[in-house]
């Protein structure tokens, strides 16, 4: 089994983006591409070829779900693990759509950036077992 390597991280809050990126790089040893907006992610996703996409549902201008909908034609989301971060109690879309958009896990805020690497590894292993 190939190990988890490349993570596309979409987060609009700069401080969270930095802390998360450092934690993932330093604690998980992953290659992380951090994007501050959905547009930036949409531009770079195809080139970056992520193993896993970690994105916040609440993003300015374009929501996380909308971003996934636009990414779907560009990359194979069934082979790319998608993990959503949400602060809302409700599901951001129907279970069917979430599955179609490759969402494997909804992580509810608050999340601990220091445990994030371990959590993502766990999801990756579950995906490939």
């Amino acid at each position: 089994m190939r190990s988890l390597q490349r993570i596309l991280h979409v987060e609009d809050v700069p401080s969270i983006q930095v802390v998360t990126r450092i934690a993932l790089e330093k604690l998980g040893g992953f290659t992380v591409l951090s994007c501050a907006s959905a547009h930036a992610a949409l531009e770079q996703a195809q080139t970056f070829q992520p193993d896993l996409i970690l994105l916040d549902v609440m993003l300015p201008q374009m929501s996380g779900i909308e971003l996934l909908r636009r990414l779907a034609p560009l990359i194979d989301l069934q082979r790319t693990v998608v993990v959503l971060l949400t602060g809302q109690p409700d599901d951001p879309a129907s279970p069917d759509e979430l599955q179609r958009l490759g969402v494997r896990k909804l992580l509810h805020k608050p999340f601990d950036p220091l445990q994030l690497a371990a959590q993502l590894n766990e999801i990756w292993i579950t995906e490939h077992e």
Partner: protein, 800 residues
């Protein structure tokens, strides 16, 4: 018997009167009487004749009351000589019947007893009727001397006197019998005395009334026997004063007034033989004979005991009636009187019996001047219409001042045109004052109700709405309407606190109170025209003085503003918490990366400060997380992912996750028994509750102690999970609010013990959302045991 010599034919009218006079003496066909026979013998002797008769002539015969020398008792009138005698006024004499053509062929002349001589004197009644004769007869012709004729006439008058006496004797006997009967049957006791006052006769009533037999009374002095001496002395002294001369205290007391022609009628209390007294009305009359000579007295005594008894009864009844009972008579001439007034006269009008005149004037003068005209007018109206009179008015009472009375009476028209009233006057001052006070209070209550900012609604025992105060009318935009309790919620727009679910009939506070409940702070809403008004309802049943429920009342307090402030506060906390969380997350994570040496070694001199910063940023995060949880719980926005989980692994996970925290307090956690059951929960939320209980137990345990985690079945389908520590326990003062928000045993505790004070409040909410229950047992100083209970089922069985 035909005769050429017609007998004299008397005038028919006069003859009838004569016969009536004859019959009046009741002498015909009576037995012989010596007095009459003596006269007949005298007549025969004087006239020297063998026969003499006293003869009475009725319509068809002559009947002999007495006869000498003759055997027949009567003969036919047609042949009688006497018929001729009674035609005249003088002695009728026939010297030789054979020579007198009126009698020559008379059978008494031609045959037995061969009468030749006849002389008769008529019996003339005082009113002038000749009833018969005294006559003498001889079988030889002869004549009477003048002396003999005179003697015969005298004898006839003597016979008439005997008739009169005989008649009087009869009449007298009858009268005497009647008088005796009257006396015997008299309702009054009758005592007859001689002129000296000694009893000569009594009637049975007297025997009965005084208890003596007739024999015991006859011959006794009346006053000494039946009259109390002190009463006689009293009366004698009064009479002496009146008459200016001494009246002895004896029989004279009764007779002295008669001497002046006064009728003596007076009430006395006489002595009964058994020593008791008998109330009587005594009447004394003198008996004079025809020569005005005093023969004695008749004393009649009318028994007043019955009347006295009635009077006593009326008095006793009247004494029980509060107020004045009266009988009032209003005569056509304008005069008036009070035949009866009870003793309430003093109480109501301040008048003594002595002050009372026969008229209405003394009472009228007591009526308050302002009310007099109305009182009089109302009486006149009632009298003219003969309708019951009822009138409240004021009395100027000499002792009590102005009092209020209620007078009521029923008028009755009497045959003489007067109006007789029976009525009652009662003092109603107190009632009036109470009424005034009540009116005042009611007015005050009404004003109070209208001024209240609370809405007040009341209903009677039958569920009819009786009161909506001003606020209630405004809030409902409706007033009291005839709406049954089953339609109250719909009609008056009553909803649950959510402002959407209509109240059912059984949930309406007023209805619940009507059924006997006391309602405190029931939250509900009134939704009128889309505006939601949040109110707290307090309702109570109302009871009458006899303990019967008389209705219910509800007071509604508007909490809309408070609700809005609460929502604003919650929104504010929620917003602030959200805004705080992002920067806190980055600070905590940054410090975590540094302190976890992810970014390389940390210089020694910075390490302690960075640790402090890291720990406190974590506490802040925990506080924010708790605040957001509470907010979600209260807003009902927290999602629960309820699934069946075996209990034991959940407990073991929680133990493992909290072991590190416990270690930091040098406290160990041990797992005791756990039944093989599954619970239906949101695993993450249950873990949150367990973490809270375990971390609290570790935090409050002395170093080196053990926290015990265990579970057991309390019912076949219910499991209790307990966390026991050896800490200080829960102080009594804290028990009440331990599950409240921001609760810690001591407010100074928060910092020392580390914690948000929200943990137990959140745990309680979480457990209740999962159909569980949370609680604790504790003895201060002997540790605490926090527990929660959940429905469960045995492993391998489907949840029911």
């Amino acid at each position: 018997m035909e005769s050429s010599n017609p007998t004299p034919a008397p005038a028919p009218h006069r003859e009838l009167s004569r016969l009536a006079a004859l019959l009046r003496y009741e002498i015909l066909d009576t037995p012989d009487e010596a007095a009459f026979d003596d006269i007949a013998h005298l007549a025969a002797h004087i006239c020297q004749t063998p026969s003499a008769l006293i003869s009475l002539v009725d319509d068809h015969r002559q009947w002999f009351k007495s006869r000498v020398g003759l055997d027949v008792s009567e003969t036919a009138r047609g042949v009688s000589f006497c018929t001729h005698t009674i035609e005249g006024q003088d002695v009728f004499e026939v010297r030789d019947a054979r020579l007198d053509q009126r009698f020559s062929d008379n059978p008494l002349v031609t045959g037995e007893p061969h009468i030749r001589f006849y002389a008769g004197a008529p019996l003339t009644s005082p009113d002038g009727f000749n009833l018969g004769t005294v006559c003498v007869i001889d079988a030889k012709p002869r004549s009477l001397s003048e002396e003999q004729r005179t003697a015969l006439a005298r004898l006839s008058r003597q016979v008439m006197r005997l008739f009169e006496e005989r008649l009087h004797a009869h009449r007298y006997a009858e009268q005497a019998a009647m008088q005796q009967a009257l006396l015997n049957s008299a309702a009054s006791a009758m005592l007859v005395t001689n002129a000296d006052g000694y009893i000569t006769g009594v009637n049975p009533t007297a025997e009965r009334l005084f208890g003596y037999s007739e024999q015991l009374l006859i011959g006794q002095p009346l006053t000494q026997t039946l009259f109390p001496i002190d009463a006689l002395v009293r009366r004698a002294s009064i009479l002496s004063d009146e008459r200016g001369e001494t009246v002895e205290p004896g029989f004279a007391v009764l007779t002295a007034p008669l001497a002046e022609g006064q009728r003596e009628m007076r009430e006395w209390r006489l002595l009964h033989r058994n020593g008791s007294t008998v109330p009587v009305l005594l009447n004394v009359s003198a008996i004079h004979d025809e020569h005005e000579v005093l023969r004695g007295y008749i004393v009649s005594a009318y028994d007043l005991a019955h009347q006295e008894h009635l009077q006593l009864r009326l008095q006793q009844i009247a004494a029980q009636v509060p107020g004045l009972l009266f009988q009032f008579c209003w005569r056509p001439d304008g005069n008036s009187s009070f035949p009866y007034l009870s003793e309430g006269l003093e109480d109501v009008y301040g008048l003594s019996a002595a002050e009372m005149a026969p008229s209405i004037a003394p009472i009228y003068s007591r009526v308050h001047p302002e009310d007099r005209e109305h009182v009089l007018a109302s009486i006149r109206h009632a009298a003219s219409t003969l309708t019951p009179w009822q009138f409240e008015h004021r009395i100027d009472h000499p002792r009590k001042g102005v009092i209020w009375v209620e007078a009521r009476a029923t008028p009755m028209r009497q045959p003489d045109g007067s109006v007789l009233w029976h009525g009652l006057v009662t003092d109603v001052t107190e009632r009036k004052a109470e009424q005034l006070e009540l009116d005042k209070q009611q007015e005050m209550n009404r004003r109070l109700l209208e001024a209240l900012s609370e809405a007040v609604v009341a209903c009677d025992a039958e569920g009819n709405l009786t009161l909506f105060n001003n606020t209630a009318r405004i809030w409902h935009n409706l007033d009291v309407h005839d709406v049954g309790p089953e339609h109250w919620a719909e009609y008056y727009r009553l909803f649950h606190a959510d402002g959407e679910t209509p109240l059912s009939m059984d949930e309406v506070p007023l209805m619940r109170a009507l059924r006997g409940e006391r309602i405190r702070n029931q939250e509900m809403t009134i939704v009128v025209n889309g505006t939601v008004r949040h109110v707290l309802a307090n309702a109570d049943p109302m009871f009458a003085s006899n303990g019967q429920q008389s209705g219910a009342v509800v007071v509604l307090h508007d909490i809309t503003e408070r609700k809005q402030i609460e929502i604003m506060q919650r929104d504010f906390v929620s917003t602030v918490s959200h805004e705080l969380r992002t920067p806190l997350t980055s600070i905590t994570a940054s410090l975590g990366l540094i302190c976890g040496r992810v970014m390389g070694e940390v210089p020694e001199y910075l390490r302690e400060l960075l640790e402090i910063a890291h720990q406190n940023s974590k506490r802040l995060s925990a506080l924010i997380d708790d605040l957001l949880d509470i907010d979600k719980l209260y807003a009902g926005k927290m999602r629960f992912d309820m699934q069946a989980h075996p209990l034991q692994p959940l407990l073991e996970d929680a133990l493992r996750n909290n072991q590190g925290y416990a270690d930091s307090y040098s406290v160990s956690i041990e797992m005791d028994q756990c039944p093989a059951v599954a619970v239906h929960v949101d695993a993450m939320r249950l873990e949150q509750v367990l973490s809270n209980l375990l971390s609290n137990a570790a935090k409050y345990s002395p170093a080196g102690e053990t926290v015990a985690l265990s579970a057991r079945l309390v019912e076949p389908q219910r499991v209790r999970v307990s966390v026991s520590d050896k800490g200080p326990g829960i102080a009594d003062a804290f028990r009440e609010r331990i599950f409240g928000k921001f609760a810690q045993a001591d407010s100074s505790d928060t910092r020392q013990q580390g914690g948000t004070g929200l943990g137990l409040a959140i745990s309680k909410q979480l457990m209740e959302h999962m159909d569980g229950e949370i609680g604790f047992d504790s003895t201060p100083g002997a540790g605490a045991c926090f527990w929660f209970e959940l429905p469960c089922h045995a492993l391998g069985e489907a949840a029911t």
